[in-house]
């Protein structure tokens, strides 16, 4: 099959970008989307043109490195699928596809389809953990966890940190990402002591990084390759509300007390 690609090319963070048209020829339906780009890039290099820069690593849909917009949809048309797991049989001969990087103030473009998502790491630094010093743990079975809680915690923990939720959100909010971590840890007994502080500090970090606010558009859930549910945002808001009554937990946070809870779905 043959496709026409319009790809965002931007040499560096400070350079101006533009859409450039390329033809992808003789594409096998068995190729993954990234393998199709590999083929385009090999041809570009042969012609002496700079290849399209895109981030990727495991190509198994688990590392979270890859992701860009395909015709305005984060990770493209297939539900619950990262671009590395998207295969060309999902497209038709003659399709015109526009590829753009994640667009968000908190995710500045580095080059072409690659953006800087280090803001996610800083949100985690603010509280996305359980403080358990190496060596200090009790026997693993000393902590009982209800199976339902463990399963739900896992659902939240499945987040791969790709940033599609931010890219899809009309406000470029990071609520689904943050809520997934707050829910994962808050659902487990080990996570209780820091639960309020975690919610407050992570949300404060989110604001510092200039992510937008959540208005329940629900676009994040629709594109999440790991199907993280919107209900986790409600859980985050509950924790945040609880934290505002209980106080405390301001460690490392800038000024968490001026936060009002976000809208709940």
């Amino acid at each position: 099959m043959n496709l026409t690609l319009r790809v965002w090319r931007q040499k560096s963070a400070s350079a101006r970008g533009r859409l450039v048209t390329y033809e992808a020829k003789n594409i096998s339906p068995d190729m993954s989307f990234l393998e199709m780009l590999d083929v385009v890039n090999e041809e570009l290099i042969d012609r002496g043109e700079p290849p399209i820069a895109f981030e990727h690593d495991c190509r198994e849909g688990i590392c979270g490195a890859c992701g860009f917009m395909i015709n305005g949809v984060a990770h493209g048309p297939k539900r619950a699928t990262t671009v590395c797991q998207l295969h060309m049989r999902s497209f038709r001969d003659g399709d015109r596809l526009t590829l753009e990087p994640w667009r968000a103030r908190a995710f500045p473009v580095i080059k072409d389809l690659i953006v800087d998502r280090s803001a996610f790491d800083r949100i985690v630094q603010a509280g996305g953990f359980i403080s358990a010093l190496t060596g200090s743990a009790p026997d693993a079975n000393a902590i009982l966890v209800r199976k339902e809680d463990a399963d739900l915690a896992f659902d939240a923990a499945a987040c791969i940190g790709c940033g599609a939720c931010v890219a899809a959100c009309p406000n470029a909010a990071a609520m689904l990402f943050t809520a997934a971590k707050v829910s994962h840890l808050g659902l487990l007994p080990q996570g209780q002591p820091e639960r309020s502080a975690r919610a407050r500090n992570m949300v404060a970090a989110m604001d510092r990084e200039m992510f937008g606010s959540c208005t329940n558009a629900g676009e994040c859930e629709a594109v999440c390759p790991k199907e993280i549910r919107l209900a986790f945002i409600a859980r985050l808001n509950r924790d945040l509300l609880g934290a505002s009554f209980r106080g405390g937990g301001a460690r490392n946070a800038a000024s968490p007390s001026d936060r009002t809870p976000r809208a709940a779905p």
Partner: protein, 649 residues
């Protein structure tokens, strides 16, 4: 009294693994007591550089940061959470004996030594089995959402043919959850200021001053800046080198550059030819294939492996009557059948494909058929057990495995070889520690399922914090800085190499060289090797390397994000490492663990070990002449698990 970590591991040309004295079950504990400590007030005066942020690297960086050392951690990814540990599916072993099924530290130790086909150090493996208990405790405390029973206790499963149920798991994403646990502990330390994280920074050289590893040179992958970093010790936790085969289950960026640079600076390379081939991967679909995807081995619990009996039978599988199918694993290994160990299942698949009985495009595939299991248990039961794997298979191949048999083929999955380290995880360069898959490790000639995660975390959480302290306690912090001539020289070398790569401007892409190297390695240094093939590869690889340096095309500049340039540097190192792997494979004229040397087999075609000549670790020393490395042998002694030939018939 134990030998200190600082003393050279090479004494009069003989490798000293520095195994502590005493009975095996007391070695580690006694060693911990014998090792020196750094007082809490002094720890911040020492800087430790940790390269890599996967399970071993993130665990080490977080734990050392918690202890109060100044830690600098490096990753070429945009975030430490991307490391390829994240892709491990199956689980992590721990000798908890929660199932009351007769498991014990000794049994896990025994299974691992035997599984490694007697090519691992007993003392290391015993320690690994001991620490498996602490690892699970630690991970649960961090909030890793392991599978649970209804009573709230941890669930376990039997994995990879083990007779006890000792594998803890988090659905099919155990590696992801363990890595996120370590990543979160690491980010906590970053937030607290004990660890400085350098992302998008690739280590391109090791700096050795007065015989000690004192720093690294990195390239900033966004700006191209070449930078020096000084430390009192260096930890390499940079993963395996399976991508030397081009196609493997490794992530695209996984590479050998850090360990290869260290090797060229004096670190010996242990057992480079020991590669694990995983039997259940999705076959190659065409020349465009960029990587291979593993399907969990658990599928072999219910799937039956077969190929047509007739050569060149191209009928669709449902048109081939039972009588014309060869269920070759059940036929050849009746007692283990479809659950035969990884190496045996892999080799058997290669054999039937070599006989032109393979299925699917290119004829490199065998059927993994669930029809009988579906008939027996019903489709819902199969869906319940393996639904996510069937979905993944359909996403990649477009085929519904409930209707047609899956097609699988072996693929490179893990490298047991790596930099040689002593019991303290220190390489032959003082102050250079190597952890996780990057070291030659505790898996011998073949790794058991669910052991890689265990080893990475044991190294990072529990072993390095002790052995590094012992090393640092013997060193006085000094004022060495990056102005030292050794750093300047390494920076110049790195910059010059980058300049050379960009200046060639030839006609072939980096990937085309990488693919060609991969074919050579897979054909001649893969599952089965022989002398003629290895000699052929040893002629071809230097030719390919010469062509690479004369004809590779790397566009754009150094001073920007340049993915072709990154790849070119890695492939240049693979082109050297591949040669060493073939040299090692040629030297080892025995069939052992995951590799089969065709000249050494029993009359019925089974692998034949040669304990008399090869019960040793082959540790190779770089000599400036790639074709002539020096071989050092570390003999292996088996006092607790008696040498015996494996039999799965």
């Amino acid at each position: 009294m134990t030998v200190g970590a600082t003393s050279a591991s090479l004494v009069d040309g003989r490798l000293d693994a520095k195994l502590p004295p005493g009975p095996i079950e007391q070695k580690w504990e006694r060693h911990c007591f014998d090792m020196k400590l750094v007082s809490p007030a002094n720890r911040r005066r020492y800087t430790v550089l940790v390269v890599g942020s996967g399970l071993a690297g993130a665990a080490a960086a977080a734990s050392l940061g918690e202890l109060g050392y100044k830690v600098e951690c490096f990753s070429y990814h945009d975030s430490p959470r991307r490391a390829h540990s994240i892709a491990a599916q199956g689980g992590i072993n721990a000798a908890k004996n929660y199932r009351n099924d007769g498991d014990s530290v000794f049994r896990l130790f025994y299974d691992t030594v035997k599984g490694g086909d007697f090519r691992a150090r007993e003392a290391n493996v015993y320690r690994l089995a001991e620490l498996s208990l602490n690892i699970i405790d630690q991970c649960v405390a961090q909030g890793v959402p392991f599978a649970r029973e209804y009573g709230g206790l941890l669930d376990t499963r039997s994995f990879g043919g083990a007779q006890v149920s000792r594998t803890f798991y988090a659905r099919g994403q155990t590696g992801q959850q363990l890595l996120l646990g370590a990543y979160q502990a690491l980010e906590r330390q970053v937030g607290l200021g004990t660890v400085t994280m350098h992302t998008r920074a690739e280590m391109l050289d090791l700096v050795v001053v007065d015989g000690r590893a004192r720093g690294i040179v990195t390239r900033n992958l966004v700006t191209g800046a070449v930078e020096s970093h000084v430390g009192d010790a260096v930890v390499l936790a940079t993963g395996g080198y399976g991508n030397v085969f081009y196609l493997s289950t490794n992530a695209k960026a996984s590479n050998a550059t850090a360990i290869w640079r260290a090797h060229k600076r004096g670190a010996f390379f242990g057992n480079p030819c020991f590669t694990q081939i995983h039997p259940t991967c999705i076959p190659v679909s065409g020349e465009h294939q960029s990587k291979l995807t593993l399907m969990s081995e658990s599928l072999r619990n219910d799937g039956r492996v077969w190929v047509p009996t007739k050569v060149g039978d191209t009928r669709p599988p449902d048109r081939i009557p039972i009588g014309e199918r060869d269920y070759y694993l059940e036929r050849k290994y009746p007692s283990f059948g479809n659950l035969s160990p990884r190496d045996i299942a892999s080799r058997a698949a290669k054999e039937v494909c070599d006989e032109k009985r393979g299925v699917g495009p290119g004829g490199r595939g065998v059927y993994l058929d669930f029809a009988d299991a579906i008939a027996r248990l019903g489709e819902p039961a199969i869906r319940e057990k393996y639904g996510n794997l069937f979905d993944m298979y359909e996403r990649i191949t477009g085929e519904n495995a409930y209707r047609v048999p899956m097609r699988i083929y072996p693929a490179v999955h893990y490298t047991m070889g790596g930099l040689w380290v002593d019991y303290n995880l220190m390489s032959t360069i003082a102050g250079l520690f190597v952890a996780g898959e990057a070291n030659f490790s505790d898996h011998g000639a073949n790794r058991l399922g669910a052991s890689a995660l265990m080893q990475g975390l044991a190294d990072g959480y529990f072993i390095l914090p002790c052995t590094l302290a012992d090393y640092l306690a013997r060193m006085r912090p000094d004022t060495l800085d990056a102005g030292h001539p050794a750093f300047r020289a390494a920076e110049v070398e790195v910059a010059e190499r980058v300049r050379r790569l960009l200046a060639i401007n030839g006609t072939r892409t980096v990937d085309s060289f990488h693919r060609e190297l991969g074919h050579l390695m897979w054909d001649y240094c893969g599952m089965a090797r022989n002398e003629a093939g290895l000699r052929h590869a040893l002629r071809k690889i230097p030719e390919l390397r010469a062509e690479f340096w004369a004809n590779v095309r790397v566009l754009e500049r150094n001073e920007e994000l340049n993915q072709s340039l990154e790849k070119a540097g890695r492939v240049a190192d693979f082109l050297e490492l591949g040669e060493l792997m073939c040299i090692d494979a040629l030297h080892r004229t025995e069939s052992c663990g995951s590799h089969f040397r065709e000249e050494r087999q029993t009359p019925d075609g089974e692998a034949l070990r040669d304990d008399e000549h090869f019960a040793h670790v082959a540790a190779w020393e770089y000599t400036d002449r790639l074709a002539e490395p020096n071989l050092h042998r570390e003999p292996l002694h088996f006092e607790y698990v008696h040498l015996s030939q494996r039999s799965y018939r």
